[in-house]
């Protein structure tokens, strides 16, 4: 074996430089976001005395629970370089299925049916993307329209009441509603799966370089399919939370959720090119949006302005990230 230990300054200087650059590159990814979140929190706590109370924070997390559950799937998919835009209309369809079946089937079977419908939406998306080879953006744009249309035509545009389905607002622990606890649990589980499991690492590998991932023996299509199935399961869960939180469902349920999810995931540092990102980052991204909305509400700012502020925030954060990458990547 080779053993020519020529230890000149060259390679060592290289190592040193690499280490420095790696440090610069890693640190700000979440640090800048966290700093931004803290700045938001400081700002709003100065402008509203109610902001820093336990009750208000519970509200922030509760308001995020549906988006958060969906964003867990969205993070997984975007790291693998995939999208699911059908989550918003999927949630509405799942809630409709629950509303229409709960009286005849009973709570538990109807919930299971609704979950199954969510998984089936993921199945359709996954099949089209991995077996037929349709681009994920196109596929889920299509299923977005299909399930929104189905929800509106079957539901008939009216508001359907769902009785005896209020588990999500039950507060079993520290006065936190179950829906927020579900969100936290999903976030932690997906975070661990992404970071530690072979499945999770395969998702990163596929997003980093799909050819290389296939050539090291990863069944890339199977993994992406599983990602869509999981996203479908989260659609099911999101639909159940939505139905329970609102106690009703209509044709406009979940409208625009897909954009809220993409906003949070990208704010959280997942690259559109895939291969990078974390569930922790997504939770920070969710909180940045959630805290902004909550704080502006406390300041009595109209919700239309909140939407504009969220859009502005997304563009600012990504612009900032581009500038940072240019500074670090310069060589």
């Amino acid at each position: 074996m080779p053993d020519n230990l020529q230890s000149e300054a060259g390679p060592m200087a290289d190592l040193e430089r690499n280490r420095n650059r790696a440090a610069i590159r890693k640190a700000p990814e979440s640090a800048a976001l966290l700093a931004f979140l803290i700045a938001e929190i400081v700002f709003f706590s100065l402008s509203s005395p109610y902001f820093l109370t336990w009750g208000n924070w519970v509200n922030v997390f509760t308001a995020l629970s549906i988006t958060g559950v969906l964003a867990a799937g969205g993070t997984m998919l975007l790291i693998a370089g995939q999208f699911d835009l059908s989550v918003g209309s999927g949630v509405a369809f799942v809630a409709l299925v629950l509303a229409l079946s709960i009286d005849s089937l009973g709570v538990l079977p109807a919930s299971m049916l609704a979950m199954l419908v969510g998984v089936c939406i993921g199945l359709v998306n996954g099949f089209l993307v991995t077996k037929i080879g349709v681009n994920a953006l196109i596929t889920t744009l299509g299923t977005l329209a299909i399930f929104r249309g189905l929800t509106q035509s079957i539901g008939g545009g009216r508001n359907i009441q769902i009785a005896n389905f209020d588990w999500a607002i039950w507060r079993p622990f520290l006065n936190i509603p179950l829906s927020a606890l579900v969100f936290l649990l999903v976030a932690i589980m997906v975070g661990i799966v992404l970071r530690r499991s072979v499945f999770g690492r395969s998702i990163y590998a596929i997003g980093a370089n799909e050819n290389a991932a296939r050539l090291v023996g990863i069944r890339t299509k199977g993994v992406v399919f599983a990602g869509f199935l999981l996203s479908g399961a989260f659609i099911g869960l999101g639909g159940l939370i939505s139905a329970s939180q609102l106690g009703s469902t209509s044709g406009t349920t979940g409208l625009g959720l897909e954009l809220a999810v993409v906003t949070a995931v990208i704010l959280g540092g997942t690259s559109l090119k895939g291969g990078t990102g974390t569930m922790f980052g997504t939770v920070i991204g969710l909180l940045i949006v959630g805290v902004l909305n909550n704080g502006l509400t406390l300041m009595n700012v109209n919700s239309s302005w909140q939407q504009a502020a969220t859009g502005l925030l997304l563009i600012l954060a990504v612009s900032f990230d581009q500038l940072r990458q240019r500074l670090v990547g310069r060589r």
């Binding site: 074996m1 690499n18 280490r19 530690r196 072979v198 050819n211 290389a212 090291v216």
Partner: protein, 498 residues
């Protein structure tokens, strides 16, 4: 020889605390082909980007035609007549040949593109290069060599006085490379100063009037090509004499073959048969388009074959996915490391252990410590120049060290058969010799290795015997004692570019 078009004096450039160029001097006389060699990290690309106006130097001067110039951007360098032809082709594939040649300088009439004038200018540019291409054809339909001619033609538009070629032949066939050299000579005759950057020594001696070597940010050799030998150039590049020894191991004929192909065929090759035994390094030599790369892809399950049978340890196998080949004990390196090998956002440890994640996991969960241990097992054996923790991103390593990490993948995975495509492509001289040593060492330990390559040095340095492919067919088998550059090029039906 005419006056120097470009004179570089004492150029320094630092990135953060690290100085990459420490006062570099170089003259580029008009009408002369100057070759610039250097290992990865020597500062070649930094220097080129300074010349092209992409980076500002921290100190020193660049004089153009005797007057000191200051390039504040790419536009300034272009205005001074300097053009860069980068390694990667940067054209607009959906546009026509004429549109591409005039890209960025389309002639207009009344605000609209004047297609007739454009075709005429494009035709003139090609004529000056002594070549001809269909002006209306979409660039996407052309071969790589033709697309490169378009890049060169584009660089002659306007008053270009200095053209820099950055590793121009990396993806070209032999015939295309020969043609490129003719074009370059023609440009030099017309008084253009040429800077030709490469790490292929044969090209330097075939093409350049003058050879300069850059090492650790300084010019370590600057001579007329006729006055130096290859060994001197290599020594100037790596700073020490490199043993260019043959590492070949003679075939061990006693053992039964571990990989055997009979009559393999697909769209790109046909009727390929061979038997590979443990301890043997089988060289498969062929130029771009010969089917060598397609064959090696078929051996590892990355591409289907339609005829014939592949036997692994005596039993017929048909791989439907690379995972099947890996399970059968076949590891591989892809010809295009960036496109098919690296996991760029992942660490060295993750990259090296990727095929073994399943084995290193418990109940589906990866143990990071085990990944680091896996990296540690091969870090020293393979002589990877990086931190031993394996926590660096793989993109931070040089080509040669990346290649060693990718080779480590299959050692960690326990593959006994290795199918290596272009194992030394984009790897500098020193690392190349190390890779040869590693391969010879693996063969000595009983690995069976296929080296599928268009680089004859891979074969002469390390193969036990060689098969030569031309246009999808095996045309010759060369036994160990007769392997030589001449024998290979003769069998492949053409000279080394000259």
């Amino acid at each position: 020889m005419t006056a120097d078009f470009l004179a570089v004096r004492g150029i320094r450039k630092s990135f953060g605390p690290i100085e990459v160029l420490h006062g570099m001097n170089l003259d580029l006389p008009a009408g002369t082909v100057t070759a610039l060699l250097g290992e990865n990290g020597a500062g070649k690309s930094t220097f080129v980007r300074i010349l092209a106006g992409d980076h500002m130097p921290d100190g020193g001067t660049i004089s153009v035609d005797g007057a000191i110039a200051s390039f504040r951007g790419v536009g300034d360098a272009r205005a001074a007549g300097i053009r860069l032809i980068a390694q990667e082709i940067a054209d607009a594939p959906t546009l026509s040949v004429a549109e591409n040649i005039l890209l960025g300088a389309w002639p207009t009439r009344a605000g609209l593109v004047d297609h007739r004038a454009m075709r005429e200018l494009a035709r003139q540019a090609l004529e000056m290069l002594g070549t001809d291409l269909p002006l209306e054809a979409k660039v996407a339909s052309l071969r790589l060599g033709e697309r490169q001619i378009i890049e060169i033609a584009r660089s002659t538009i306007g008053a270009s006085k200095c053209i820099i070629f950055d590793e121009a032949t990396a993806a070209l066939s032999d015939a295309e490379a020969r043609k490129l050299f003719q074009l370059i000579r023609r440009l030099a005759v017309r008084g253009v100063a040429i800077l030709y950057i490469t790490h292929r020594l044969d090209e330097v001696f075939a093409l350049a009037d003058r050879v300069c070597v850059l090492r650790d940010g300084r010019v370590s050799l600057d001579h007329a090509t006729g006055d130096v030998t290859q060994d001197q150039v290599i020594e100037a590049m790596v700073g020490r004499a490199v043993a260019n020894a043959r590492h070949a191991v003679p075939p061990s004929t006693a053992a039964p073959p571990v990989l055997e192909a009979t009559g393999l065929g697909s769209a790109s090759f046909s009727d390929v048969s061979f038997a590979l035994r443990p301890g043997e390094i089988l060289g498969v030599y062929g130029k771009v388009g010969s089917g060598v790369q397609e064959l090696s892809s078929s051996l590892v399950g990355a591409r289907a074959f339609h005829e014939g049978t592949l036997y692994v340890e005596g039993s017929p196998r048909h791989f439907r996915h690379p995972a099947d080949a890996i399970a059968a004990g076949i590891g591989h390196l892809s010809a295009d490391r960036a496109a098919d090998g690296l996991l760029p956002t992942m660490t060295l440890a993750e990259n090296l252990s990727a095929p073994s994640w399943g084995r290193l996991a418990r109940r589906g969960f990866v143990n990071r410590r085990k990944l680091r241990q896996a990296y540690g097992r091969w870090h020293r054996t393979l002589h990877i120049k990086a931190a031993a923790s394996g926590e660096q991103l793989i993109t931070e390593l040089s080509g040669g060290n990346q290649q060693k990490v990718l080779l480590g993948r299959w050692l960690e995975a326990g593959s006994k058969i290795l199918v290596l495509s272009e194992p030394t492509r984009g790897v500098d001289v020193g690392a190349r010799q190390e890779i040869y040593r590693v391969l010879a060492g693996l063969a000595a330990k009983g690995h069976a290795i296929v080296v599928a390559t268009s680089d004859y040095e891979d074969i002469t340095a390390v193969a036990s015997r060689a098969l030569v492919m031309v246009r999808g067919r095996m045309v010759a088998e060369i036994p160990h004692e007769r392997i030589s550059t001449e024998a290979l090029t003769e069998a492949a039906g053409g000279g080394v570019h000259a």
